[in-house]
Amino acid sequence: MTDTRKSPTLALALALVALFWISPLSWVAFNAVDPLADGTLRWPQAFGLANFSKAVAGESGRQFLNSVYVALLTSTLTTVFAGLAAYPLSRVRIPGRNAILWALVLLRMLPATGIIVPIFFMAQSTGLLSLTGVALAITMINLPFTLLLLKNFFDTVPLELEEAAYSEGASLFRILWNVVLPMSRAGLSVVWFFSFINAWNEFLLPLIFVRKTADFPMSVGLFNSFGEHSSVDYGFLAAYSLVYALPAVAVYFLLRRNLSTGFAGVGVKG
């Protein structure tokens, strides 16, 4: 229960926030349903789903699957790698571990355009110029940050629960699997979703890595709306971006219940 439940100020603030986020999207909505869309903000001149049928035609089915593949692989790899390493980092007192992690996170700053040359050559020499390579590359770039993130979440799992499991005979693996991970569901979900979206949105790496047209993800397909001489097919762009974004939003809603487990502080007194 909260004392904000019926607060009108809060309701008003939330309404404003919602308005701030929703109203700009009218551009997308209007252009998407307007077969005559010209990229300006105007009431649709005509209504029709032509843009959508274009957006889901042709390669986009396969591109969708490719996007799903990269995103799932990336998020899974990132979560597993980060999860494995975050536990020791959270529990073993390594001198300067925070500073080290921070320094590593800074590497994320190296801009894609700069880092792409070395990454490309590395992928080429290991035969990873493929979607799998893309997933690995994104995993690599994101790892320090996700590691730090997960460590923070692991830090909040009460040691006493691990002690209880340990004294009940649980191996390290079971302590992790049955206590630490379930208790960090919120953190894991965030890390997972973060990497998922990162991969879902990544454009440059797949463009450069993928050898076969059939392997392109949706983020590349989006740019088919851009023609020569900076001409843009706005109707297609708007419709495609919705078709592109909505599955990822749906993933969030599937994941969302993990963000509020209400476990914190329940099992232990103090």
């Binding site: 919602a18 070395p118 830090d155 191996s171 390290l172 989006l222 592109y244």
Partner: protein
């Protein structure tokens, strides 16, 4: 190192060490590449042309240029303003406030706001740029929906207040991340502790300030670091929206780098800028590190 670790870690220290392996391997790769960039920053390597193959070391030339060339310091300033207002203040605070406010609101409101916020995050940058261009351009959404009804003269905000527009756009685009992270982080705050503060008479703001925020300190520090980094290197939306202009008014460092290295293909110089940016952010983030450290 494992000496004062918990017994179950000591017992399985080999497994614990093994758990670190994938991360260490990946990070080693990353470091290797960072090293490559560092080395590149001392060369005149280019993406195209003769300098792509016949490059040579040029010492600190690239770094010197950075300060001599017009634009770097300006970009640094613009980036700092952009980061502080759009990320640290905008995304961070708004994201937190929403996470806190929506934690206990009804399902429908929550889903509605969340859906919009997350859609903004996932929407491709170029599309977001059109969205915001349509919002702030002459006769755009703001003009039509706010200014005209009140009889205020319409205007082109993008031309008049470009930095403001990109800041707003970036808040819109990026707050979802802070929102999601803080939603999860808030889940780790024991609800009874917050209840105790309520009983102690703390208002919602006081609870946030004295209880929730201190408990979330590591998460906040991490997030600040991350969004600072992201904003420092954030490129596509600003580029698509204003191209760094008018003039250099929104020429953030990432656009500066793009123009100096990518459009021009000068990898050496571009790397130097990147390295300099890393150093700058490293310097700025000393502040966050203090936030991360336990005060006691």
């Amino acid at each position: 190192m494992f000496d004062d670790a918990k017994p179950w870690i000591q017992r399985d220290w080999k497994l614990v060490a093994a758990m670190l392996i994938p991360a260490i391997a990946v990070i080693a790769l990353l470091l290797y590449m960072a090293g490559w960039i560092l080395v590149m920053s001392f060369t005149d390597l280019a993406l195209f042309g003769r300098k792509a193959t016949e490059w040579s070391f040029v010492g600190f030339d690239n770094y010197e240029r950075l300060f001599k060339r017009r634009g770097f310091l300006n970009s640094l300033w613009v980036t700092t303003v952009f980061t502080v207002f759009s990320a640290i203040i905008g995304q961070n605070i708004l994201g937190f406030a929403m996470a806190a406010a929506l934690r206990n609101t009804g399902r429908f409101t929550k889903s509605f706001v969340e859906g919009a916020v997350i859609l903004g995050w996932i929407l491709p940058d170029v599309v977001a740029a059109y969205v915001w261009s349509a919002t702030f351009t002459e006769n755009g959404l703001v003009d039509l929906a706010i200014l005209q009804p009140f009889g205020i003269e319409t205007r082109n905000f993008i031309n008049d207040h470009p930095l403001f527009v990109v800041i707003v756009a970036n808040v819109w685009k990026g707050a979802a991340w802070s929102y999601i992270l803080y939603s999860a982080a808030l889940d780790t705050v024991p609800s009874e502790v917050v209840e105790a503060a309520r009983v102690d008479g703390a208002t919602p703001l006081q609870r946030a300030w004295h209880i929730t925020l201190p408990i979330l300190r590591p998460h906040i520090a991490t997030n600040c670091l991350f969004i600072t980094i992201s904003s420092f290197v954030y490129f596509p939306l600003i580029y698509a929206l204003t191209g760094g202009g008018p003039g250099r008014k929104t020429q953030v460092l990432s656009i500066f780098v793009y123009q100096e290295s990518f459009a021009v293909g000068k990898l050496g110089y571009g790397s130097a800028i990147s390295v300099a940016m890393v150093l700058i952010v490293a310097f700025l983030s000393i502040f966050y590190v203090r936030l991360l450290k336990d005060p006691r």
